[in-house]
Each structure stands twice: as structure tokens, then as C-alpha cells.
Symmetry: C2
Subunit: 351 residues, 2 copies
């Protein structure tokens, strides 16, 4: 008995940390291995201050989480990271100069491994969100009304748009382990130029950045139509972002409703293409902008109706993420647990 | 010894039949189980005469093949069909009223099973072409210069455009076994209406039908630019099809070159989207129009160059099918062999 109690004292509960690294925000969660959330926190990444300061800030946030939840770091199973793309999962590098200037080949995995002496793995944010929803969200076996999910396609709309395809619980990757970048599918070749070099990419038309940009330029062109939006922005056009545009649209601001309608049409085009190219049982919508997914549903419903002329569209469920902003945090933790428990998986963290 | 010879006499070599069913042509091949082609033939489907006459014509072609190659029908392992989509593989039905008017829920599998007393399976034509290239074409281990192919994406451009994704040798299907229809991804929302109900679908812009239509209307608008094309069509505008447009373009006919250039740009957009959404090691181009894939390569190269700003595009090989028109015939045979030898596969022929 004494031995057993001592053993328990020496072995406080194990936990895993999941981290969602966006171009603007970072979210962390500590989880029990069964998926129960122990504690979470979030902070700003301030990517524009460069990768050195950013990595330090990330490590401090991990320290804060350990401290806040009074977690014993000896029981840390590892840290899973889901990051805004592209990432090089195999080599543990952030490769994202597009939305995080200067963040090219940043060795985040090695940095956190050295700092916390624990396994660390890196996934694309959309893969992480998809895995999270598969693990504890819409794909969880307890979810009613959805047949068993073999093919789950996740769309993460934040600063950019990330996509992920989960087949039988595994991330479907691209050549050499690279992550496909569905946010850069072209849905309108007459659309605006994107930083990727393309024109009319999906994310140039309806990502959070795009919606913010559309809101700002619409307001400059016709200020009288967006009084509610301008008020929400405290009178400063430059403070307008996607969140405020969604909020103002919900209040009935005509300009904001027009912007959302336009963005939703473009969003529906990309979802239509994903339907045609993958035809999955479930499409999950996550990320900051999809916190307002209800605003996008009329366009999506119209698109589904059009597609139903050709494919049995009733077999596809388009659903908001159940885990909300924290889908990626859950999924990053799940990815780490998978990497520990299924070493045969294609992408292995370098530990 | 005598027994052995007798046994051999009683067991002449086994073979399998692969069939590629297009909206206009049907091709058949008899194969040894190791992939060696024994004999082949082709004929017209004349889909417009309706499914009853069509099924009878298909069965006659099978008879002709057996006769032509002096094959013993007792050694027929089965018949694999790859058909222009959509098909219902699970139920063995052709569901293709779009390009084959009247062909809705046509029970081709049951028909051929009853007629030839042999297993029959049905695949989408693009799946079949993809499996064929995987089995005996660009994915074959003896092919030099290509790293091991885990992800093969096939694009079949014929009357329509079919797509297929092979992951580790298996067809990746959609919900309920349905086949995704990548040919209906939207690449230009300002494009022409498609029979599927969409606007600016990929296949409405660069399929064989689209190229023929574009050639005919361009010639009506500016006959002086297409004299070579008109000559190839024997002076009859209505005889112009994609094959003639490609042929005239190769001869330098300015109108035909313009049509191909426009179609190739649209084609490259769709391939770009597939790159972004799948990022496979190999993209294989097959089908009648891609018999002229060299005419489409300049636009594809330009697209790849643009995409290289964002993804390591050098890891993706875009290649014409090695099996040419017969990729689908090979793959249909392979699908039948797989169905016999791997009964755990998701889609089983109903035998």
C-alpha cells in the first residue's frame, strides 16, 4: 500500500500541451491523455517582431500555462504545435514568410525541445484543427446525427485559409510530407493578386485579412453605408478587421452585410470545389472568421442546392467546428499523442 | 508428366477483360493477370441510341474480343469496366444522363454478369485510368526518374474531365463510395454555364466537348483565321471536334492555336488547384484530348512556375499517361483483379 501511494506521489497525472500558432494569436491548452482540458491560455504572437522574440514569447506562454495550472513539468508528455502554414512538419520548421514576415525556416520544434526537454511535433494549423475535431469535436463517436466519419475535410478561416483532409483518422499529406495549401486554390482568375503569386486565390477573396481589407476599402468608398462598422472601430478605419465586419453585419450595417455577402459567395465557390474534388462525409469550418459561420451559411446552402443537381449532396454535412477557436489546440495535442503512440506514422517529430 | 499435361490442357491461361466506356467510344483489352496485353479492340458506343441498344453493343464487343483472340471463356476471370462518370460503383450502375442522354441508373454490371457468368466490377473512368497508370504506366516500379509514387492524381480529359486520386495504390473515394467529380470544380465563375448547373466548371472550359464547341464558334465568328481547321473538317463546321482543333493547331492554324491556348490556360487553372489541394508526387494526364498533352504543356509550365513561388513544385511530376488511350482499359482490368484478390476493399462488385 505504502509503495502504491509513493508511486502515485512520484507519478502525478501525465498531460500533454497543444498549441495553436496563428499569424496574430497563440492559444495553448494542457490536456489529459483522454482529451479532457485541464487549463488553457492565449496571447499575442507579435510575428512582426521577428522569430527570435516570437520563439521566446511562445516559450514564456508555455511556462505561464504550466504555472497557472500548477502542472508538474516532469509529467509533460510533449508539446504538439499546429501552426499557420506552410510548415515543414518533417524538419520541424515554420516556413511562413507570407503572413509572418521573416519567419522562414524557423526551428520551433528544436527550440521547444531544447527548452522543455520533451517531445515536440509540428502540424499545419488546418491539420491540427481537423485532428482536433476528429478527436473531440464533430468526429467524436458520441456526436449524434452524423454517420461514422471516414472522410473529414476541415477548412480553417483565420488570417489566411488552411485546409486539411483526414481519411480514416490520418492526415492525408502531399509529396514529401508537405501540406497541401487549399487556401490558394483559384476560384476567380479575375480576382485580386495574392501574396502567393496567384490571382483570385480563395484566401485573397474571403480570409480574415481579405474581409478586413474589403471592409476598409468599402468604407473609404462609401462611408455613409458603414456607420455602424466605423462606430465599432472607434472611428478609425484602420482598426477595421474581419471580426468587426462580422459584428457590424450582425447589427445590420449595410456595408458590412455587403462585404460578408461577397466574401461568402467566394467562400462558397471554394467549398463547392472541395465538394467536387473530395466529396467527404463532413466539412468542418473552424478558425476565427468561422466563429461567425452562420453569416456564411446562406451562400453555402445556395451552393449545396446547386451542387445537388449533380451529386448526392445530402450525404455531406457542413458543420461549424464544435471546439471553436480551440480545435487546433486539441488537434495539436492529439497529433503529439499519435506521434508517441503510433511511431509508424509517416511524419515523425524529430525526437 | 501425363497428368501435368492434361492439367494444363484443362487449364488454359486465365485472363481478365478491361473495358473503357467513354461517352462516344468503347475500348476493350484482354490481359494476363501479370498485366501483359493479349488482345484489344474498340468500337462506338452510340450512347444516343439509348441504354438497351448500348448494352447489347457492349456485350457484342466482348464476344468479338473473345473470338478475335481465340480466348476460352471458361478462363475469363472477370470483366472490369471504367466508365465516364458519374457511376455508382457499389450498385454497379451507370448514372450519366449528362453526357449520355437517357443513361440513368443503367445496370451494366448485372447485365454483363448475367451474359458472361463472370465477376464484373465498375469504376469511374478516371479511377480506372489512374489505376492503370499506377499498375503498368508511370507508377510502375520500373519507370526511371520518378521517385516511389505514393500519391498519384490522374486527370482524364475526353468528352468531359474526370479526376482520380490514388493513395498508396488505392482509389480514394468520396462519401458513400461516390466518386468525386473534379471536372466540375469551378475555375472561372464568369465562365459558361455547364450542364451540371454550375458556371465556369473546369470541363466547361477545356474538355473535348468544350474545345470542339470553342473551335466551331470561333470559326463561325472569324472563318478566315481557321482555314486549315475548316479544311480538316472537310468544309463542314459541325464536324469540328477537339481532335481536329488539336490537329489544326499543330499545323499552325491561328484560330485553332488560339482556341487551344485559351483551353490550356483554363486547364492549367484546374491543375493548379489540384496541386494546391492535393500536392501529389505525380499528376498523370490521360484521355483523348491529352493525347495532345504537348499542346497544353506551355500553359502548365507557366502555372508550375507561378506555383513554385509558394510550394516546392519540383517535387511534383506532371506526365502524360504512358498507356495512352488504353490507361483506362488497363486500370479496369486491374480493378477487377484487385476486387478478386483483396475482398476487404471498400467497394465490392456485387458478385
Amino acid at each position: 500500500m505504502a509503495t502504491s501511494i509513493n508511486a502515485r506521489k512520484e507519478n502525478p497525472p501525465e498531460f500533454v500541451i497543444g498549441m495553436d500558432l496563428g499569424a496574430t494569436r497563440i492559444r495553448l491548452g494542457a490536456f489529459q491523455p483522454d482529451g479532457a482540458l485541464i487549463s488553457s491560455l492565449e496571447g499575442e504572437i507579435r510575428a512582426e517582431e521577428g522569430p527570435d522574440a516570437g520563439l521566446e514569447r511562445i516559450a514564456s506562454l508555455v511556462e505561464n500555462l504550466l504555472h497557472q495550472a500548477e502542472l508538474d513539468r516532469r509529467c509533460l508528455l510533449g508539446i504538439g504545435i499546429g501552426s499557420t502554414g506552410p510548415v515543414d512538419s518533417r524538419r520541424g520548421l515554420l516556413v511562413n514568410p507570407g503572413t509572418m514576415p521573416g519567419w522562414l525556416n524557423v526551428p520551433i520544434v528544436a527550440h521547444l525541445q531544447d527548452r522543455f526537454h520533451t517531445p515536440v511535433c509540428l502540424e499545419n494549423d488546418a491539420d491540427a484543427a481537423a485532428l482536433g475535431e476528429y478527436w473531440q469535436g464533430v468526429g467524436h463517436p458520441t456526436q449524434a446525427g452524423i454517420p461514422p466519419v471516414r472522410r473529414l475535410y476541415a477548412i480553417t478561416v483565420g488570417t489566411g485559409i488552411g485546409t486539411a483532409f483526414i481519411l480514416d483518422g490520418q492526415v492525408v499529406r502531399g509529396a514529401d510530407g508537405f501540406h497541401p495549401e487549399g487556401g490558394h486554390q483559384i476560384v476567380d482568375p479575375s480576382g485580386p493578386e495574392c501574396y502567393c503569386g496567384g490571382r483570385g486565390c480563395w484566401e485573397s477573396l474571403c480570409s480574415g485579412s481579405a474581409i478586413g481589407r474589403m471592409g476598409r476599402s468599402a468604407l473609404k468608398a462609401a462611408p455613409e453605408a458603414g456607420t455602424a462598422l466605423l462606430k465599432l472601430a472607434g472611428g478609425e478605419v484602420d482598426r477595421i478587421d474581419a471580426r468587426l465586419v462580422c459584428k457590424a453585419a450582425r447589427q445590420g450595417d449595410p456595408l458590412s452585410r455587403g462585404v460578408i455577402e461577397q466574401a461568402a459567395k467566394a467562400f462558397a465557390l471554394g467549398v463547392f470545389n472541395i465538394l467536387m474534388l473530395f466529396f467527404p462525409e463532413v466539412i468542418v469550418l473552424s478558425g476565427g472568421v468561422m466563429h461567425s459561420s452562420d453569416l456564411f451559411m446562406p451562400a453555402l446552402n445556395e451552393m449545396q442546392h446547386a451542387a445537388s443537381a449533380y451529386l448526392p449532396i445530402e450525404r455531406v454535412h457542413i458543420l461549424p467546428a464544435r471546439l471553436g477557436y480551440y480545435a487546433g489546440v486539441y488537434g495539436a495535442a492529439y497529433a503529439l499523442l499519435q506521434a508517441i503512440h503510433h511511431p509508424q506514422l509517416e511524419i515523425q517529430p524529430p525526437f
